[in-house]
């Protein structure tokens, strides 16, 4: 089981409490598709992804960004058992979506960079450490049911 200090819990809770899911979700997912274009392979049915501008203005991507970000709420509410909380989503990503688990890390890196941009100096090194630890636990849980 992952151990969380009070500071880490506070940092993560603080970051999420201020989050605009629509804004950050859209920005993170579109950034991931632009910075790591091979991730577009999972979005064949999402319309125009032809260039950065198209991706950034794509409403289906925006909506999906919000969905993905809300997926993190589960971990937020169950920080002491993230592993089991994501068992079902892990199966989904493996069996139905066939997403290479390496991609989870790419998206988390983009999310970190978008949040850093939004929070500025409030995103202290300690906040970054807590947030990245949180994301890495989620990423690990999402990859667990792959076989």
């Amino acid at each position: 089981m992952v151990e969380w200090t009070d500071e880490e819990r506070a940092a993560i809770s603080n970051i999420f409490s201020k989050l605009d899911y629509d804004e950050i979700g859209q920005k993170s997912l579109s950034r991931c598709l632009i910075v790591y274009p091979w991730t577009q392979r999972y979005f064949g049915g999402f319309g125009n992804l032809y260039n950065a501008e198209a991706i950034m203005n794509n409403p289906m991507i925006a909506k999906h960004g919000t969905t993905v970000l809300h997926g993190l709420d589960r971990a937020l509410k169950n920080m002491d058992d993230i592993k089991n909380t994501y068992a079902e989503l892990s199966v989904l990503h493996s069996e139905k979506l066939h997403v290479d688990p390496d991609n989870f890390k790419l998206l988390s890196d983009c999310l970190t960079i978008v949040i850093a941009g939004k929070m500025g100096n409030a995103f202290t090194p300690e906040y970054q450490a807590s947030f990245q630890k949180f994301l890495s636990v989620v990423v690990s849980a999402l990859g667990r049911q792959y076989h």
């Binding site: 632009i34 910075v35 960079i113 850093a116 090194p125 970054q128």
Partner: protein, 143 residues
């Protein structure tokens, strides 16, 4: 993977634009490296003061950022232009190349924090590629 002519211009222009704060970027990136990835402190065990806001860490961050700017000026031939730095990292420092990736990530987090408007996805991808190529050039002489 290589930089297109357009990407080289993007990288040069962006780093020129943020150059007035390059010391701050370097110091902050290195401070974050050792806080977020404590295993990296193993390379600095010889320093008395390993606090992220202490003088040795901030000074070294400035040095490292200076190296990044040198790479920008040699963007057309990174392997050739960074030969000395490559030999330093290969034979003297022997920094495991995995750390180049995590330092690049820390640099980009700081760029995003300080220049949120300017660090667009298009610039992000060019800078990410550039830093990856710098890392590759630095590992040229490793084996």
């Amino acid at each position: 993977m290589s930089l297109s002519a357009k990407e080289k211009v993007i990288v040069k222009d962006f780093f020129a634009k943020v150059s007035s704060r390059s010391d701050e970027i370097g110091a902050e990136a290195l401070a974050r490296l050792i806080v977020v990835y404590p295993q990296t402190k193993s390379y600095f065990a010889h320093w008395k003061d390993l606090s992220p806001n202490g003088a040795p860490v901030r000074k070294h961050g400035i040095t490292v950022m200076g190296g990044v700017y040198e790479a920008v000026s040699k963007i057309d031939d990174l392997a050739g232009g960074l030969l000395n730095l490559s030999e330093l990292h290969a034979f003297v420092l022997r920094v495991d190349p995995v750390n180049f990736k995590i330092l690049s990530h820390c640099i980009m987090v700081v760029l995003s924090m300080l220049f949120a408007e300017e660090f667009t996805p298009q610039i992000h991808v060019a800078v990410d590629k550039f830093l990856a190529l710098v890392a590759l050039a630095l590992s040229e002489k490793y084996r």
